[in-house]
């Protein structure tokens, strides 16, 4: 069983990892939108690039840990749902982010 301390660490360590990833991503967004968004431009950058593949894989993994744990806190405090329901929802959300996220990475790399 995962305990509260491990969940806390998972959320904060994924946050630490996300800081540089988000900074690079933000810079990239601003560069990418310069001439309008096009598939050719986006995919031209990412297709066949190991570096971007690793970058976005890390991003998806960190997000799939960080986001459901944050949502779990919010649901615990701002809804009246049972803890078991909240945990089940967040686990499903984590899987959704993992699958959809990795699918997106494979689609663009």
């Amino acid at each position: 069983m995962i305990n509260g301390r491990q969940l806390y660490l998972a959320q904060r360590l994924s946050a630490v990892l996300l800081v540089p990833l988000v900074l690079i991503h933000l810079a990239l967004i601003i560069i990418a939108v310069r001439n309008g968004l096009s598939a050719a431009e986006i995919l031209g950058r990412t297709r066949g690039s190991l570096l971007w593949g690793v970058f976005y894989t890390l991003f998806v993994l960190a997000v799939a840990v960080h986001v459901p744990l944050g949502v779990r806190n919010v649901m615990t405090e701002w809804t009246r749902l049972q803890p078991r329901v909240v945990d089940a929802f967040c686990l499903l959300f984590c899987l959704l982010l993992l699958i959809a996220g990795m699918r997106a990475v494979f689609a663009v790399v």
Partner: protein, 264 residues
């Protein structure tokens, strides 16, 4: 660089310095409109008119109402000098120790609203049942367990050691439950043990005489422990004796990665 004070939580020092009424505010001799909570949580406000005097605390107002208007009004106090922690109430929306809160500091115009503390069962009027507050104190692991018996020599503790100074900075809690009442998370999450209990746990983490010191981090991260705190700082802003539960909780969180501080 902004000035030092604007960077801080700024505990409400108005509770400690007596400041006279501002121009435009009610003056001594004016009538105050005091709304006081009557009944249990499903009760309601009742209005009383009380004369504003020099040097009048919120507790004085409640006493005057009880003596002259409403003999059945229930409220709690003991020391009247900020030591016992029994007089806390919600005054114009914020929790305060009423015996050391001057009316001048808190009136809005000539209005004063006095309610029981938030997040605790109301027994009657302004009196709350503090049992949940102290039960959570126990649950958090806030009970000191000695390493020695009274037959042993007392352990020498250097008052200048860093660990002792850290413990001392958080130790003077008067158990008033003001922070517990100020903390939104306590209201949102029934399991959350609250700032005072975790602040207490942090003092034990820095006390080498505490037998269960090794367990402190695990206790801190129980369900409803320090990970539930979101650093709003409401506890620290309102603690009448200027402790900083928010900082104590952050220090407990830090121990999840860096371990507990050295107490030797």
């Amino acid at each position: 660089m902004t000035s030092k004070t604007s960077d801080t939580v700024q505990p409400d020092r108005s509770q400690h310095d007596h400041v006279h009424a501002q121009p435009g505010q009610a003056q001594p001799g004016d009538r105050l409109e005091v709304s006081i909570w009557r009944g249990k949580r499903d009760g309601g406000f009742k209005q009383y008119a009380v004369e504003l005097r020099e040097n009048q605390t919120v507790l004085d107002i409640v006493t005057e109402v009880q003596r002259q208007h409403e003999p059945s009004l229930a409220y709690r106090f003991a020391c009247r000098v900020g030591v016992c922690g029994s007089c806390a109430m919600t005054v114009n929306g914020a929790p305060r120790w009423t015996c050391r809160t001057h009316v001048n500091q808190v009136i809005a115009g000539n209005q004063l609203t006095i309610e029981p503390l938030r997040h605790l069962p109301v027994i009657k009027d302004l009196v709350c049942d503090l049992a949940p507050f102290f039960e959570k104190w126990q649950k958090a692991g806030g009970t000191f367990k000695p390493t020695k018996s009274r037959l042993d020599k007392p352990e020498p503790i250097d008052p200048q050691s860093p660990a002792r100074k850290t413990a001392n900075a958080a130790i003077e809690c008067i158990n008033c439950a003001v922070c517990y009442s100020a903390c939104d998370v306590v209201g949102w999450n029934n399991d959350y043990v609250g700032p005072a209990a975790l602040n207490r746990l942090w003092t034990l983490a820095n006390d080498k005489r505490h037998a269960d010191r090794e367990q402190v981090t695990d206790l801190a991260f129980q369900e409803g422990g320090c990970a539930s705190c979101h650093s709003h700082g409401n506890c620290t802003r309102h603690c009448p004796v200027e402790l900083s539960p928010s900082q104590s909780i952050a220090a407990l969180k830090k121990s999840a990665i860096f371990g507990l501080p050295d107490v030797e």
